[in-house]
Amino acid sequence: MQVRIWGCRGSYPVSGADFVRYGGNTSCIEVQVNDTLIVLDAGTGIRPLGQALCSPDSHIKTNRVHVFITHTHWDHIMGFPFFQPLRDIDTYLTVYGLRRSERPLEETLAGSLGKPLFPIPFTSQPARTDFREVDFYTTFAIAPDVQVTTARLNHPYRAVGYRISSPSGSLAYVTDTAPFDQILFGDEQVSWSREERTLDEHSRETLQRMHQGVLDLMVGADWVIYDTMFEPEEYTKRPHWGHSTPDHAIGLAAQAQARHLILFHHDPHRTDREIDAIEGRYRARAAEVDLMLSAAREGLTLTRESDQ
């Protein structure tokens, strides 16, 4: 298994001298397991990935692509129409995302990426695309040597966390999510006021189930890529935004005995120097619990061999 980061910014893309080393593109990760090509999220980072795949010296020779969408917030889908393999009639794409009773995944994507917001609907591109809706807490195989497990994340309108498992490595992709203690996010909007909220029994159970599900994705994983948009003091001000801190991620990764935690979904205002500082500070903390830690940056490539 080889994992490569193409976009690690949260909320919206950013450009400029402050964002050169970690990069300004929004969520997109490439996972390669032998001949199986998996793409996690379709933020603006999927555009350079598509170009790399279509270049004559592409590192991978397959036209079969599995795209897993965590949720359809703009920063996770806005690059999709610019994914160059869509313009190749030989591409066969399967898009995975949450099954929702009110609207098919295909419609949600088509509605956002067609007219009047985008000139050419991405579903009318030459590539063959089918949609596979998934539920939380299931496991299925997409190739003889590649299994995918899903879990529910604690984010407005709900999001899906994924684990990709193969004999050559395992990856947990957990973004976007809040921690599993204070607020339960569902499809309805959580009040934005600051009043103290008490959770009812059912909400507490749902959160516990989510917490366990996310631990299951992460257990013994080679790599955990986790939403760490906030620093602790920012989280205290915006618990209702549906994002976590490195402290939350380290706690879970250590408990799950994962090997290497990747801080992901950087706040759009976070400069290269600030991320350097965060990485340095938390790397020391993670070392205490025997966990490797890195901040995600565009171009970061992970294999078991390269990261021992």
């Binding site: 450009s15 603006t44 555009r47 917030h73 703009w74 806005m78 000139p119 407005p156 909007q189």
Partner: protein, 292 residues
């Protein structure tokens, strides 16, 4: 008027080392009038850093006022809006002119932009500021001390993008971010009387302006017909025919690298120089500021 560029890309943001000097954010240009009014042309991803900057002034106190002119509603011209902090501050006021059959249509489109499937904002009702949506009027209108004239331009099959002319105290700028000129009348338009078609027809709209900010998505070599964008040479031809003083090439293709834009500008300047043409020509970059 004082013009500042916050996003100069077309289609999609393309951050990275290759686009560092000109910038990777999508369309957003802020115009501060001599009278102190703020008019913003398009709300692509460049609208986010503009919003951050505005928070230091009256928008941070909930006393800001902006007129936002939307050329059209492709994502690279509207995606920044829901993310910009001033939009979420009670007391700020946004008058948003955009293309739609009705003001309700424009509001509905923005409602879709922040719907729960796509945004944690859920609904425009959660946006603290006042949003006053308006259909772009057919007649010239006034915002602050600035006279605004709008004109439809062809932008690919069956699609229009508006161009705007802003005039204050005898100075004028034209903004035409997305256009593919047609060579035969009526080829793409359903409403032939309402849109400009050819470059010749555009000359009357831009004539004698001090500044022309124009679509520069394609060059001679990479032009794809039907994609809704013209070649840079069209911008130069239009600027010269319209007696423009200063042409700014804008809405660069996402993959146009800093070096390629440098080379493109050098080629056009060479050509102008050899022909003895008086036109001043630059490429827009993030942070570029022009006083008119």
């Amino acid at each position: 008027m004082r013009v500042r560029f916050w996003g100069v890309r077309g289609s999609i943001a393309s951050p990275g080392p290759k686009t560092l000097r000109y910038g990777g954010n999508t369309s957003c240009v802020a115009v501060e009038s001599d009278a102190g009014d703020l008019i913003v042309l398009d709300a692509g991803s460049g609208f986010c850093p503009l919003g951050d900057a505005l928070m230091k002034g009256s928008f941070g106190k909930g006393q800001g006022n902006m007129t936002l002119l939307l050329s059209h509603t492709h994502l690279d011209h509207i995606i920044g809006f829901p993310f910009a902090p001033p939009v979420h501050i009670r007391g700020n006021h946004f008058t948003i002119y955009g293309p739609a059959a009705s003001r309700e249509g424009l509001e509905e489109l923005h409602e879709g932009l922040v719907a729960p499937a796509y945004s944690p904002v859920y609904t425009l009702d959660n946006i603290g500021s006042t949003l006053d949506f308006r259909r772009i009027p057919d007649e010239p209108f006034v915002a602050g001390g600035v006279q605004i004239t709008a004109q439809r331009f062809p932008h690919g099959v069956g699609v229009f993008s508006w161009g705007f002319k802003l005039t204050e105290r005898g100075r004028s700028l034209i903004y035409v971010p997305d256009v593919e000129y047609q060579y035969r009348h009526g080829v793409v338009s359903n409403e032939p009387t309402e849109s400009i078609h050819s470059l010749d027809e555009a000359v009357a709209f831009v004539r004698d302006a001090d500044l022309l900010i124009h679509d520069a998505y394609f060059t001679l070599h990479d032009y794809v017909p039907g994609w809704g964008h013209c070649r840079t040479q069209h911008a130069v031809t239009l600027a010269e025919a319209g007696n423009i003083k200063h042409l700014i090439l804008f809405h660069h293709a996402p993959d146009r690298s800093d070096e390629e834009i440098d080379a493109l500008i050098a080629d056009h300047r060479d050509d102008l120089y050899h022909r003895g043409a008086p036109l001043r020509l630059d490429a827009a970059y993030e942070g570029m500021t022009i006083q008119l």
